[in-house]
Amino acid sequence: MRHTLSKLLGPISAVLVILTIWLGLFVTPPDVDQGELVRLVYIHPALAVEALYASVGMAALCSALYLWPRTRSMRMDRLAASAIEVGVVFNILTLVTGSIWGRPTWGVWWTWDARLTSTALLLVLSLGYLALRRVPAEPHVRARRCAIAAIVAAVNVPIIHFSVVWWQTLHQGCTAICPGLTYKIHGSMGWTLLLSFVAFTTCFAWMVVSRYRIDVLRDSGHDGALDDALEARRSEGVPS
């Protein structure tokens, strides 16, 4: 059952995304003051939310579950890793789409708006996690370390967010607009916006699942490989 579901996830998300794009590009009207650019609203926010909340939240959850002795299993470790990895992709996409949006709207690629800054910080945080994963260590040790790192990162996200928001809003001479509140949403736009969130969430889920799958396959390949390795190791004893 779970299998078939995760199998369906791919096609579903594909369809939804395509639908979103179609609606976004051809059905919904351009915005009065933002023009065609507004169509980015069907991609960017959804991406951003996945990057910010979905990935970190999921990673933290799985990590906590890993550290909890009852639910400890390599599955959780893998899931957390996949979540962060996909999250990095979404994060970068958020930055890119955001910048593309920002260039015409703000006249700059980047501004020190609170949200932008915390997104960037989160990206570095996730990169740190991935760097930690690369440090060679025994599987359990690495899983534990990374679980802790992920939890710390998750706890840190709100702290960063609020401090950055206050820092930014409290500081004079900040020119950055708070995006999203600048225009009213027409009916069709509302639906499409909603759809976009659903679409990218499924997309995110699908990517995580398949990333996880790849990992499992690799390691199950390695389980097969483990038996071979055990054989090889044992045969080292036999004097040749």
Binding site: G128, A131, V135, A137, R144, R145, S163, V164, W166, W167
Partner: protein, 220 residues
């Protein structure tokens, strides 16, 4: 737990007292960093006084990273880490002990940096209470976060490069809150209390996280 903490703190401080690394290397570094920043801005005093608080805190951040490097390299080699684990110390105690020792060193560094800010950047602090409070809380927060995260980074060789990228994003809030609190302490704005609160939250969150998570980390 507490006696283990004292034991570990004692060990770290004794080793520091013998090698004087923090004193002879980390402190000069932090002062040096402050000077470099002035170079970066180029010669205009106005800009300097504006960004003085920020520079203080960046210098502190980098200095704290060096201090952590050193404090963790006490159990740098794999063999040392393992045999320390065989001693059956309470992980929470180990964490608190290392944090304690590190806080002590950071406080020294902060004092000198404050002096530096006053002398080099011509900053006059009005609200000293605010200053002291934020420094103290920041020291605790920085120490906890770095020890917790730094211990993840494994052996000396890896850590020297991995630690900064791991810890710096985590302690970014300290930088922000700290500099804002300083701006308040200098007197140009009045919302210092709120930023001290941020620092306090940070300190509490990470010391608790450390006490809780250090155990699992010690396991294999």
């Amino acid at each position: 737990m507490l006696r283990d903490a004292l034991l570990v703190a004692g060990r770290d401080l004794r080793i520091e007292a013998r090698s004087k690394v923090a004193l002879w290397q980390v402190v000069p570094f932090s002062v040096l960093a402050m000077i470099l920043f002035t170079f970066a801005l180029g010669p205009n005093p106005a800009a300097l006084t504006v960004s003085a608080p920020g520079f203080f805190w960046i210098a502190l951040l980098f200095a704290s990273i060096l201090a952590t490097q050193r404090s963790l390299s006490i159990e740098g080699s794999q063999a040392t880490r393992e045999s320390t684990r065989l001693l059956g110390l309470d992980p929470a105690g180990v964490f608190l002990g290392k944090v304690g020792a590190l806080v002590a060193e950071l406080v020294v560094i902060e004092t000198i940096l404050v002096g530096g800010t006053v002398l080099l950047y011509h900053v006059a602090f009005r609200n000293w209470l605010l200053l002291v409070a934020s420094c103290a809380l920041a020291a605790i927060g920085l120490a906890s976060a770095s020890v917790l995260y730094g211990s993840l980074a494994g052996g000396d060789r890896v850590r020297s490069t991995l630690l900064p990228i791991l810890v710096l994003p985590v302690v970014a809030p300290v930088l922000i809150a700290g500099s804002r609190a300083f701006v308040a302490a200098i007197g140009s704005s009045g919302d210092g209390g709120r930023w001290v609160a941020v620092l306090a939250v940070f300190a509490i969150v990470y010391s608790v996280l450390g006490i809780v998570l250090y155990g699992p980390m010690e396991e294999i």
